[in-house]
């Protein structure tokens, strides 16, 4: 990167450290922190939306919809995560390519031949000729989708419980005022349920933060992959040979995750206080007393 780093084996001390820490590989490592944060920023709202849809469906009076909502939460919560991340992603990828092949390929023979999965070149997602960035973006999108499905199922269960926890008297009073079912749902139920859902959702958020290393199973190079890769002992075949430094890299990750969960806790505590305002709960009561 810098002129001084042209011959890494001839330099020593601080210059060596500076060159080492700014090597292309380390830049990839630093960028992977952004990947993880981006994944969280996209997955959390998506999972919440899936959970909301699941919980709303499960409460529906229309039986098939209700079964769909309950079935989604029950099935996904029951399947071990690791199975989901290993099997589901390959199945999803092949499913997408199969559907595309129906539209774009001339040859419509069954693609699963023995152990191989064969569709014509035009049906590959992304196309073989696409630049590496598209392959990464596609892998990332699969990852977001899988995470959203898994965490959405847990969120659906939390929100379903929270919706049931809103005092029935509140809903009946709203109906007595002449509100329609949709209005009761929108104006009374949803605004009040968050305070009941928050402890469960904050748990999910913490678990999601810690689950991001599963990204590597999906072919996305995350911080844990790079820490292991950079920390492993390096022979003279590399420009910067060093012994096994994994401990230091993983200690760095530990600090990152601890800081991140600490910040999350502070934000969630504030959110909880904000949502308790005016609620008929112990938290809301405490706020009222403090104000008086």
């Amino acid at each position: 990167m810098f002129a001084a780093c042209a011959d890494p084996k001839a330099i020593e001390g601080l210059t060596w450290a500076a060159c080492y820490l700014t090597s292309g590989k380390h830049i990839d490592f630093y960028l992977s922190f952004a990947t993880v944060l981006l994944l969280l920023a996209i997955t959390a709202p998506t999972a919440l939306a899936m959970g909301f849809a699941g919980a709303t469906a499960a409460r529906s009076r229309f039986l098939p919809l209700s079964l769909l909502g309950k079935g989604y939460a029950a099935i996904v919560r029951g399947v071990p995560d690791i199975v989901f991340f290993l099997f589901f992603v390959i199945a999803l990828d092949q499913g997408i390519e199969y559907l595309k092949s129906l539209a774009v390929c001339d040859d419509h023979s069954w693609p699963w031949q023995g152990l191989e999965f064969r569709v014509c070149q035009e049906a590959k997602v992304p196309l073989g000729a696409s630049s590496a960035i598209w392959h990464q973006a596609y892998g990332f999108a699969l990852a977001v989708f899988t995470f959203a499905i898994v965490f959405g199922a847990f969120a659906a269960n939390v929100l379903y419980g929270a919706m049931g926890a809103v005092p029935k008297a509140q809903l009946e009073t709203a109906e007595a005022y002449g509100m329609s079912q949709a209005q009761v749902f929108r104006r009374i139920l949803v605004p009040q349920m968050w305070v009941y859902a928050l402890p469960g959702l904050s748990n999910l958020w913490m678990i999601l933060i810690k689950a991001t290393p599963l990204l590597f199973l999906l072919g996305v190079k995350d911080i844990v992959y790079w820490a292991r890769e950079l920390g492993g002992s390096k022979t003279q075949a590399y420009e910067y040979p060093h012994p096994d430094w994994r401990l230091w890299y993983f200690l760095g990750l530990l600090v990152f995750y601890l800081c991140f969960t600490k910040v999350s806790e502070v934000v969630l505590a504030r959110l909880s206080a904000r949502l308790s305002r005016g609620q008929a709960t112990a938290g809301g009561e405490a706020l009222r007393k403090a104000a008086a």
């Binding site: 890494p8 090597s23 292309g24 590989k25 830049i27 990839d28 390959i90 990828d93 092949q94 390519e97 031949q113 152990l115 191989e116 999965f117 064969r118 569709v119 070149q121 035009e122 590959k124 196309l127 073989g128 000729a129 590496a132 392959h135 590597f216 072919g219 292991r228 890769e229 492993g232 002992s233 022979t235 003279q236 075949a237 590399y238 420009e239 910067y240 040979p241 096994d244 994994r246």
Partner: protein
């Protein structure tokens, strides 16, 4: 509007036509000097040089991808890349599920490395998961301790988790040489496998023929031997 649509359709067609000429090469990126990620974050090593040269000779446009060793065969079959070039020895078990090109690295010795010369090779021996070495250790009567990456198999010996590591001698040699006497070869080297070849899907016969011809031409003009010597030193077996 119509013109725009036509232009888009043409570009898409051209893209599809080009797509057939791109061959994706899948490697592990953690097995120096065969393949590794260099400090610039790029794939490097013996196989990088061989792969690039083979693609040039076979007139293919190649692109490199990395994949975990564990899932390197399923992802080939699933079509995520077209060729495995990852120090993979040609064995009968693998040949049942994928196809191999002719070897581009001669049948090589595997060896034990331990902290002491009197290490018990029937004790706990580490090897990388799903390698011929792991299979050999399991049958040798020793307790097999498997790891996902080659680097972890060495670390296990250094921290005492395993008595010895069993791996390709050419992978171990630089590690032993640079360990300042901490690590040493133990016991006799063992010949395993039929050399290192490119892994292909069984249905990709055309690609296999092209790559076989390219490997043969590299063997014939000695450029393959030159690359082996460059990455593995003068003492390694050549063609």
């Amino acid at each position: 509007m119509k013109k725009l649509l036509l232009a888009t359709a043409l570009t898409a067609l051209a893209g599809a036509a080009m797509a057939q000429d791109v061959v994706r090469l899948g490697t592990e990126g953690a097995y120096p000097p065969f393949n590794f990620i260099n400090d610039a974050g790029e794939i490097a090593g013996f196989e990088r040089d061989v792969g690039d040269e083979l693609c040039k000779r076979a007139e293919l446009t190649c692109e490199w991808v990395t994949n975990e060793w564990d899932s390197i065969i399923p992802n080939l079959q699933s079509g995520n890349y077209d060729v495995i070039i990852a120090g993979m020895s040609i064995t009968d078990e693998r040949d049942e599920v994928i196809d191999f090109s002719q070897n581009y690295f001669p049948p090589a010795a595997s060896a034990y490395v331990a902290l002491a010369a009197d290490a018990d090779l029937k004790g706990v021996v580490s090897a990388q998961v799903s390698t011929i070495q792991a299979g050999y250790v399991a049958e040798s009567g020793a307790t097999l301790l498997e790891f996902a990456t080659p680097d972890e198999t060495i670390a296990a010996v250094r921290n005492g988790e395993a008595v010895a590591v069993f791996a390709d001698k050419d992978f171990l040699a630089p590690i032993v040489a640079e360990s300042n006497g901490e690590l040493m070869f133990v016991g006799e080297p063992v010949q395993l496998g039929g050399g290192v070849g490119l892994g292909l899907r069984e249905s990709d016969t055309e690609l296999k023929e092209k790559l076989n011809a390219a490997i043969q031409s590299m063997k014939d003009d000695g450029s393959l031997n030159a690359l082996i010597e460059k990455h593995f030193g003068p003492e390694t077996a050549k063609f």
